[in-house]
């Protein structure tokens, strides 16, 4: 009896210890996910009492809507414009603060500051910087003899402005993650490389990047997931009017999440259609993560 109890204890207890996470995940993660799938198969308006079953009708309508593809294009464009410079900058910054510096902790803490700031504050400030008539950036452009830009009106210009906000918030955070990984790289590698006459740039490319490959994969995947769900930046950038729903009159910066918001919380509160959008987004994110993984895995390993 005692041995049986002992055995049960050693074999079951670990599962019991980790069970709170899985229970909470089931309640707050898995159940909503499944319920959303169920809702997405219905003509489900929050204002109506009847929810008719429509099968895959919402999905068919979604994939046939040119505005959905427009939102997908915008999301991917903002993703590329924000993630790529963000990761390159983060890598360089991490490399810089990984060297012997005066007041090193101060620099490292400073990296995190933009991320601690609330996203609303960041967007409000950046929206003023990118303002058409009274914005600082246009004022600078004009004083250099270049023309003003109506940042919100253009497709490319609005994407650049939004990408700048995302880059500002997340570069330092990613740099810190890179830094943590860099500190685990053996110092001897750098010492012998220095003896062999390798420059700082060569050391970054040939030693650091291959050594922190798993961290790069992680950061790329996490940034992609965030980038595909970007919402607050375009929503607040457009101001409090209807542009905050459709991302400008020509939908020039409507992202996928804004598209979902447009249908779920406006236009008759079509939760069925919005749920279908959410599931398509989920599929896209899984797909993007897989592709990212395959690409970044090809970064040459040091071993």
């Amino acid at each position: 009896m005692r041995t049986w109890l002992y055995k049960a204890d050693t074999q079951l207890s670990p599962y019991l210890y980790i069970s709170p996470f899985f229970l909470l995940f089931a309640v707050f993660g898995l159940f909503p996910l499944g319920y959303t799938a169920w809702v997405s198969l219905h003509d489900w308006s929050l204002l109506a009492d009847e929810h008719a079953f429509v099968g895959l009708g919402n999905y068919a309508e979604l994939l046939a809507d040119p505005y959905f593809w427009n939102a997908l294009r915008n999301t991917l464009s903002i993703l590329a414009l924000s993630t790529i410079p963000q990761l390159i900058l983060a890598l360089i910054l991490a490399h810089l603060v990984n060297r012997p510096l005066r007041a090193r902790t101060l620099w490292r803490l400073g990296l995190l500051l933009p991320n601690v700031t609330s996203v609303v504050a960041v967007v409000v400030i950046f929206s003023q910087l990118f303002g058409r008539d009274f914005g600082l950036i246009n004022w600078l452009l004009e004083s250099f003899g270049l023309g003003r830009i109506d940042w919100q009106a253009g497709v490319a210009s609005s994407h650049v402005a939004i990408a700048a906000m995302i880059t500002w918030r997340w570069t330092g955070y990613n740099a810190l993650i890179f830094l943590a990984a860099m500190q685990a790289v053996p110092k001897e590698l750098y010492e012998s490389a220095t003896l062999d006459g390798a420059t700082a740039g060569q050391q970054l490319r040939k030693i650091t990047i291959p050594s922190i490959r798993p961290t790069i994969i992680f950061v790329v995947i996490v940034s992609t997931i965030y980038g595909l769900q970007v919402f607050a930046e375009p929503q607040l950038f457009a101001g409090g009017g209807p542009n905050g729903i459709i991302g400008g009159p020509d939908r020039q910066f409507q992202t996928l999440t804004l598209y979902m918001y447009e249908h779920g919380f406006n236009r008759g509160f079509e939760f069925g259609y919005a749920s279908a959008t959410a599931w398509v987004m989920f599929g896209l994110i899984v797909l993007a993560a897989a592709v990212n993984y395959l690409i970044t895995r090809r970064i040459r390993s040091s071993r």
Binding site: D133, F134, Q152, G239, G240, P249
Partner: protein, 422 residues
């Protein structure tokens, strides 16, 4: 160790029980029981000082207010109605959303059952009608303010463009919208670097709101494609855009707010509630803004009702409060504090209201101007997706302003987008 833990736990549990008991008694309706009423609003309705007054007369009632912004407020109201819990006892509903609730009124208390029937004559008839369900059997809201329209304009910019600055002379410039656009052309010729209006969407909206039928017919059918007054408003607005009169500002952006003070544009369609907004955003432009009559004579843009979600347990107490808050005496106090214009016509002859003016607007007689405007309003039927339809058409005008589309293409896209809303 164990004993000390128990010593700690017992009082905590007792306090917990007492607290739950106290909450329980809160929810019981009736005579002198303590009642807490939650009020959910978007923006400041100017109710705060009134709550204190009400609580003095009704010491058993505690009022709690929560304020969020326009979109968030209505979205959370709808989510709370759908899930059956979380809504406040009293919820403000703006006219843009009201018609979607009157189409399905079963989630609200019928105010006619609570004794509102005898109050009908207190409101402008159309304001009362707006709160009624489609079958006219359920009243879901009592009216607060109406958005009687006027035209706010910058006297300094008018002077620079060689136009009259006196408000009566300015009103005579534009009895109709055609003459308003013609004035804009004169203005642009004299002051080509400045703009006549902030954006074209408001002008379009005001014109449609003034027509006898707007974007919906009385059977809730969308008639954007067939109503000649909609197309006429569109064409005239396109004309104004083509002559570069619009500053192309997106409403509620930092650029838009700053423009009131900087004098980027000369006129803006001014529902009563807009005056407070101009005053706060253009503090250093005091005396430069003035108010004239709106082209087309009258019209209402915006305005709200107070409604009682059915999930609220203290229906009678909540009804007593909104009946008091929307009564003429209270609406007058709110108008003086915030500029939100009353929906109760008995005040329209009250010299206290008609004689009201504001130094910020060159002592323009706000009371007189908005009274005339509100009295002349021809009621118009509002359909369930009223707000979304105007946003869709506004986006079309925005595409023309930003040079993305030719007017004809923009109109085609508006029609196909509106058809998808139906």
């Amino acid at each position: 160790m164990r004993a000390s833990l128990r010593r700690l736990l017992v009082p905590i549990m007792v306090t917990g029980l007492l607290a739950t008991a106290a909450c329980g008694s809160d929810e019981q309706p009736g005579g002198n029981e303590k009642i807490t009423l939650n009020v959910a609003l978007f923006g400041d309705f100017g109710f705060k000082p009134l709550y204190e007054e009400y609580s003095k007369a009704h010491p058993n009632v505690t009022i709690k207010e929560r304020i969020s912004d326009y979109a968030a407020h209505h979205q959370s109201l709808i989510s709370h109605l759908a899930t059956g819990s979380g809504a406040a006892d009293i919820e403000a509903v703006e006219i843009g959303y009201l018609s979607s609730f009157t189409a399905t009124p079963n989630r609200f208390h019928n105010l006619l059952d609570l004794g509102a029937g005898s109050l009908e004559s207190q409101w402008l008839p159309w304001k009362w009608q707006q709160g009624l369900s489609t079958d006219k059997k359920t009243l879901i809201g009592l009216g607060t303010d109406v958005g009687g329209m006027a035209m706010c304009y910058r006297t300094d910019l008018f002077k620079a463009a060689g136009l009259p600055t006196d408000r009566d002379a300015v009103s005579k410039l534009w009895p109709t919208w055609d003459e308003y656009v013609a004035t804009g052309k004169k203005y642009k010729a004299a002051a080509p670097k400045s703009y006549f209006m902030e954006a074209s969407g408001n002008m379009f909206r005001a014109m449609v709101e003034q027509a006898s039928t707007g974007v919906y017919d009385n059977a809730d059918k969308l008639i954007v494609d067939s109503n000649p007054s909609v197309k006429k408003a569109w064409d005239l607005t396109v004309d104004a855009i083509a002559s570069d009169q619009s500053a192309k500002l997106a409403a509620w952006t930092p650029e838009w707010s700053a423009a009131f003070g900087k004098g980027t544009f000369a006129t803006i369609v001014c529902p009563a509630w807009m005056t407070a907004y101009i005053e706060t955003n253009a503090k250093d432009a005091a005396g430069k803004w003035d108010i004239a009559a709106v082209p087309g004579g009258a019209g209402s843009m915006g305005g709200s009702h107070l409604a009682l979600p059915k999930q609220g347990k203290n229906a009678q107490a909540a009804y007593d409060l909104i009946k008091w808050l929307t009564a003429p005496e209270q609406q007058k106090k709110i108008f003086k504090a915030t500029g939100n214009f009353p929906s109760t016509p008995s005040l329209y002859t009250d010299p206290d209201l008609t004689g009201f003016s504001k130094p910020f607007f060159n002592n323009a007689p706000l009371g007189k101007i908005f009274t005339a405007s509100a009295q002349a309003v021809q009621p118009q039927h509002q359909g369930p997706k009223q707000g979304d339809v105007f946003n869709t058409i506004g986006a079309g005008l925005g595409r023309i302003e930003q040079g993305k589309q030719k007017p004809d293409d923009a109109w085609k896209q508006v029609l196909s987008d509106v058809a998808k809303l139906g």
